[in-house]
Amino acid sequence: MSVPAAMADLVAERAPPLLRVAGLTKRYDEQHALAAVSFDVHAGEVLGLIGPNGAGKTTLLEALAGLIPVEAGELMWCGAPTPSTERRDMMFYLPDGLRPWDDDVVVRVLTFFATVHRRSQREVAETIGSVGLAPVLRKRVSALSKGYARRLMLALALLTPQPLLLMDEPFDGFDLRQTRDVMGLIRRVAASGRTLVLAIHQLGDAERVCDRFVLLADGAVRGAGTLDELRTQTRLTSASLEDVFLALT
C-alpha cells in the first residue's frame, strides 16, 4: 500500500461516522420502546435495522428523524450534536404504509415534491421510470394498489436531497421480482453516495441488500456490524443472518 493511500485509510478510520446514535431512550408509559440504543451509520452504506415486529424499529427511525420526542440520547452528525429540529436538513424518513395526500393525483404529488426540492422535469421522469410509476400517474393516490403506493413513496424519497434516507419496511407490498428490482435501486442509490438505513423484518431481504446490520429486540441493540462480524461475535462461522439473529436475541 502506498503512503498516501495508507494515510487516507487512517484518516477515514479516525473520521467520525456520518451519524452516531448514543443512548437513545424512548418510553411509552412504563414500557421501554427504546432502551439506550447506540450505533453508528457510515457514509454510503446500507444499514439494516433488523428485528421482529414490535422490536422498536419504527420508533427508532421516527426518533432519529425527530418526529417523536425521546427521553434521553443524542445524535451526532459528522461528530457534531444535532438537535431534532435540524435533522430534516440531513435525513429524510419514509414511513411505512403511507398514502400521502391521498385525494390528490400521483403526478401532482410527485411534482409537488420535485418543485419543493428544485428537481427538474428530467429528474422527475427518471425517478418515475426507475420505480415504474408511469402507468398510474393520472390516478388518485387513494386508488393505488399497495405496491404502487409503495413505489410512490419510494419515488418521493428519491426526489429528496438529504444525504441520509431512513426507510421503514421498504420491501413491504412488493412481490419477489419487484423486491429484487427495488433492492437493485437501493444499491444504485447507495452507490451514488447516499446513505440508507432500512428497517426490515424479513431477514432474507436484509441479508441481500444491507452492508451492515443493527439487531434490535425489545427496544435494545443486541448486535451490530457486518454479517461476518456478527458471525464472529456469535462464533457461527457460516451462519445466515437469521441464525445470527436467533443466537443474539
Binding site: P16, L18, E62, A65, G66, L67, I68, P69, W77, C78, G79, A80, S84, T85, R88, D89, M90, F92, Y93, P95, L98, R99, P100, W101, D102, D103, D104, V105, V107, R108, L110, T111, F112, T115, V116, H117, R118, Q121, R122, V124, A125, E126, I128, G129, L133, A134, L137, R138, K139, L156, P161, Q162, P163
Partner: protein
C-alpha cells in the same frame, strides 16, 4: 462540523406549498358540499330580504320620510350575510379542519414536517388556503350582491366593504380556531367537535348572556359573534380589527406550536401558556383602541353633520355621570343614541356609570335615571336619551351656539320594489349546477407535462 451535503432549507419556493394546500381543500367533498348547502340558505334569505324590502319600498314610494329609512345595508345586506354567517359558523369549520386534519389522520403530516419549510410557514400556507376557501365560500353571497345591483339596487361601496371585512375577520377567526383544533386533536372528528364547541358555544354565550349585567356581560363579549356586530352596524372599529387579528394570530401561533409531532408535550404546554398570555395581552391592548369610524351612508352612528363639527371642536374634558343600571333599557338607548356617538366625535369623554345594581330595585331612588354632564366647570342634568335634547344642553355648557342643520345632507334612502322572480331559480338551480360542474372539473385528471410523460414511458 457539518457535512456539506446537508440541504439548504431556508430558500424553498412557497408557491408549490400554497398550491398543494389549496388543492387539498378543493380535492375534498367538504367545500363543495358546503357551497351546495349555502346556495339555498343564502338564496332564500336574500329572497326574503328582497321581498320585505320591496314591500317597505312600495309603501314608502311617495313619502320621503319613509324612504329615508330604507337602507340596503339593513334591509338586504345584513340579512343575506346573516345566512352566510350561519353557514360559516356551522359548516366552515369542517372545511378549515381539512387543511390539517386529513394530513394528521393519514400520517402524511410526518412527510409534511420534513419538507424544507419552517413550521410557521406550513401553518401560514394552511391559513392562506383557509382564507382562499373563505373567498370561494363567499360566491353565493357575492352573487346575491351582483343580483341586487342587476335588479337596480344601490350599494354603498365603503359600508359594503366594511361588512365584508367583518365577515372575513369572523371567517378567519373560525379558520384559525379550526386549525388549532386540528393541530391538538388526533382525528378530524375530534377537531370538528372542539371547533363547533367554540363556535356554537360562543353563539350560546351571545344568546344567553348578552344584555345581562356584570360578569355575564363581560363573558358575553368573548363570543366570536361579537366580532361581527359593529360591522353590521356600519362601524369600522380599529380596536376590534386589531383585536380580531391578534386572536387570529394567537390561534395560528398555537396551531404552529402543536403541529410538530417531535416536540415534547410539556414543551408544547409551556409555550402555549406563553402564547396565550401574549395573545390575551394584545387583545386587551387592542380593546383600549377606541377609534371607530362610521362608514354608513346614512351616518346612523353619528350626529348630524353640523353637530359633529361643533362637538369635534370642544377640546375640554366632558364627564358624564349616568345614574342608570347597565341593563336598564334607557341606558341601552342612551348608549346607542348619545354616548357612543359622543365618544367617537369628542376627543376627551369620560363616562361614569353610578348605578350598578338591578334597576328594578332602584325605583325609590330619586336620582336614578339622571344623567349629569360636566364640561368646563359647568354641570347640567337630563333624563333624556335623545340627542335632540342632549346636544343643545352640551352647547349650553360649552357656551357655543347650537348649530343649524345643513340642508341637503339628509340621507335619501334607497327604496326598491324589485322583481325577485330570478332569485330563486338562480340559487336553487343555476348556481348549484355551476358548483357541481366546477366540482367535476376540479376532479378530472390533470395533464401530465410532456417531459415527465416521455421519461416515465421510457
Amino acid at each position: 462540523m457539518r457535512s456539506p451535503d446537508v440541504i439548504a432549507v431556508r430558500r424553498t419556493p412557497l408557491r408549490p406549498l400554497l398550491a398543494k394546500e389549496l388543492r387539498g381543500i378543493l380535492g375534498g367533498r367538504a367545500l363543495w358540499t358546503m357551497l351546495l348547502i349555502m346556495c339555498p340558505i343564502v338564496g332564500f334569505s336574500f329572497f326574503q330580504a328582497l321581498s320585505l324590502y320591496g314591500e317597505a319600498s312600495a309603501s314608502a314610494s311617495d313619502q320621503a320620510a319613509l324612504a329615508s329609512g330604507l337602507s340596503p345595508l339593513d334591509g338586504v345586506l345584513v340579512p343575506t350575510f346573516g345566512a352566510f354567517y350561519v353557514t360559516v359558523t356551522l359548516l366552515f369549520p369542517f372545511v378549515a379542519i381539512r387543511a390539517l386534519g386529513r394530513e394528521k389522520e393519514t400520517g402524511t403530516l410526518r412527510l409534511l414536517v420534513q419538507l424544507p419549510y419552517r413550521t410557521p410557514t406550513l401553518i401560514a400556507a394552511k391559513a392562506a388556503a383557509v382564507a382562499g376557501t373563505w373567498l370561494i365560500a363567499l360566491i353565493p353571497a357575492a352573487s346575491a350582491l351582483v343580483l341586487w345591483l342587476m335588479l337596480g339596487g344601490h350599494l354603498h361601496t365603503i359600508e359594503t366593504l366594511n361588512l365584508l371585512l367583518g365577515h372575513l375577520l369572523y371567517g378567519l377567526l373560525i379558520g384559525a380556531v379550526a386549525l388549532f383544533a386540528a393541530a391538538i386533536a388526533e382525528s378530524a372528528a375530534t377537531a370538528a367537535i372542539v371547533t363547533l364547541a367554540v363556535t356554537i358555544g360562543s353563539w350560546m354565550l351571545d344568546f344567553a348572556l348578552a344584555g345581562q349585567p356584570g360578569l355575564a356581560e363581560w363573558v358575553s363579549r368573548l363570543s366570536l359573534t361579537q366580532t361581527l356586530r359593529p360591522f353590521e352596524q356600519g362601524l369600522f372599529s380599529l380596536g376590534l380589527v386589531l383585536g380580531s387579528l391578534a386572536a387570529i394570530m394567537g390561534f395560528a401561533s398555537l396551531a404552529t406550536l402543536w403541529l410538530h409531532p417531535g416536540v415534547p408535550l410539556r414543551a408544547k404546554l409551556v409555550r402555549s401558556l406563553g402564547c396565550a398570555a401574549i395573545t390575551s395581552a394584545l387583545v386587551l391592548l387592542a380593546a383600549q383602541v377606541r377609534t371607530a369610524i362610521d362608514v354608513t351612508e346614512d351616518r346612523r352612528n353619528s350626529f348630524p353633520a353640523a353637530d359633529q363639527r361643533a362637538l369635534a371642536a370642544l377640546r375640554e374634558p366632558l364627564v358624564i355621570t349616568v345614574h342608570l343600571a347597565p341593563e336598564d333599557p334607557r341606558y341601552v338607548d342612551l348608549r346607542r343614541n348619545v354616548l357612543s356617538k359622543l365618544e367617537r366625535v369628542m376627543p376627551n369623554v369620560t363616562i361614569r356609570l353610578v348605578a350598578s345594581q338591578n334597576f328594578i330595585g332602584r325605583s325609590g331612588d330619586d336620582s336614578y335615571g339622571e344623567v349629569e354632564y360636566a364640561y368646563a366647570g359647568r354641570i347640567d342634568k337630563s333624563r333624556s336619551t335623545s340627542h335632540r335634547e342632549i346636544l343643545p344642553l352640551l352647547c349650553g355648557l360649552a357656551r357655543v351656539p347650537i348649530p343649524t342643520p345643513v340642508a341637503g345632507e339628509d340621507y335619501p334612502g334607497y327604496p326598491l320594489a324589485a322583481n325577485a322572480a330570478l332569485v330563486l331559480p338562480w340559487f336553487f338551480g343555476a348556481l348549484p349546477l355551476l358548483i357541481v360542474l366546477a366540482w367535476w372539473w376540479n376532479r378530472r385528471a390533470p395533464r401530465i407535462p410532456l417531459p415527465i410523460c416521455q421519461g416515465g414511458e421510457s
